[in-house]
Amino acid sequence: MIHADYVAPASLQELLAILHQHGGQAKIIAGGTDLIPQMRLGKLAPKLLIDPRHLPLLGIAEKEECIHLGANVTHTQVLASMLLKKEYSALVAACQQIGGPPVRNRGTLAGNLANASPAADSALPLLVYDAQIVTSRLGGERVIPLNEFYLGPGQTQLAEDEFIREIRVPKMPSITKTVFLKLGNRKAMAIAVASVALRLSLNELGQVIEARIALGSVAPTPVRAYLAEAIIQSNPLTEEIIKNAAQAAQHAASPISDLRASSGYRSKMVAVLTRRALEMVCQEFASGNSYE
């Protein structure tokens, strides 16, 4: 048994007030799939757990400029969304590979981001989709671009009394393809050894207008490979350019050695996965098929 008090406020205001009142002694518990194991081992010991389950949060809502993913959206709900499958397929692909069904049924996107594991699968597609995090605290709201959200392993910009209310994902340019690739040490229920998400958006002339590459498990936080993106954005996509971009992505990573893999292996995999992701997307554009 873990030792903490529990409260499930009925409104956002109430939640924010409680969160503010307890400061660092309280944590938000949504699916609990990261929080409870950590508390059981004594790695985290909040005195109060605040559950947003009664909040009237929107699930997955499509608006004019962007998609809103409420704080309570689970990975399973992402997988079930026709809208997300169509428009944000890399996010669906990433959620498909998180844990197993029981974990996906409970774990939330917001919780996964807040937990700030460098291996978080869903963070990568959200990064390449230029997602923003909308937070609330008693003083008001703010919007944090996801690529500024992480400060270090397990550390985010969130203040102690700040709550992720929703994730906003802008609409993508009409010609967009994305890929999510993950390497694990077995074929299910595996924390990533290295992972990559890639988005390429083209104009009508077939030139790359937006390139986004996000890397997971190879740095203290999920990171963007900005130099690699720049190489892609300013050059035609030849084999040589792809190779250069892959190498640049490799340099954006600063992996460590741990139980799952060595830093050297991870570093090599960044290049391999980035290259493959680029090749896959190029092939799709060439053949006109949609990536599944």
Binding site: I2, H3, A4, G32, I36, G100, M189
Partner: protein, 161 residues
């Protein structure tokens, strides 16, 4: 720590439980309700031995605080049989030897039950995905898949094809 009161339905029966807030649903089921069919294999959500169905979805009971189950409908392995008649999944698990030591079986059954609630005609790949969160060290995965396929076939025939 003060105890809190939780109201939930377990296997169709409304229950009111007094529990410490940090108690998990698994502890409530096993220790307070005496429903020991659901097992603890790891306590950390890694093995699936504690899977129950909550509001129609498979969840690891060790990762749900009892308080988070407030107002929910829980089905455990003890709730599958009706009036002493085994659910077809249970009969086919036995028939196909989809169990050896049986410790993973309750969680495995509930993952399969949840699958069939949401997908009445799964293919083998989908079944494997549904049980990917249930570890079986005895290695009964293939027999579990066959038991689910047999259940589906039986249900289709029972409904007249």
């Amino acid at each position: 720590m003060n105890e809190i009161e939780i109201h939930l339905a377990v296997n169709g029966i409304p229950r009111t439980i007094q529990s410490e807030p940090g108690c998990t649903l698994l502890e409530v089921l096993r220790d307070k309700l005496g429903l020991t069919g659901t097992k603890e294999g790891c306590g950390a959500g890694d093995c699936g031995a504690c899977v129950v169905v909550m509001d129609g979805q498979a969840v690891n009971a060790c990762l749900v605080l009892a308080a988070q189950a407030e107002g929910t409908q829980i089905i455990t392995v003890e709730g599958l049989a009706q009036d002493g008649n085994l659910h077809p999944l249970q009969s086919y698990f036995a028939e196909k030897w989809a169990l050896q030591c049986g410790f993973c079986t309750p969680g495995m059954l509930m993952s399969c039950y949840a699958l069939l609630l949401n997908n009445p005609n799964p293919n083998p790949e989908e079944i494997r995905d549904a049980i990917s969160g249930n570890l079986c060290r005895c290695g009964s995965y293939q027999s579990v898949v066959e038991a689910v396929l047999a259940t589906v076939k039986f249900s289709q025939e029972a409904r007249g094809g």
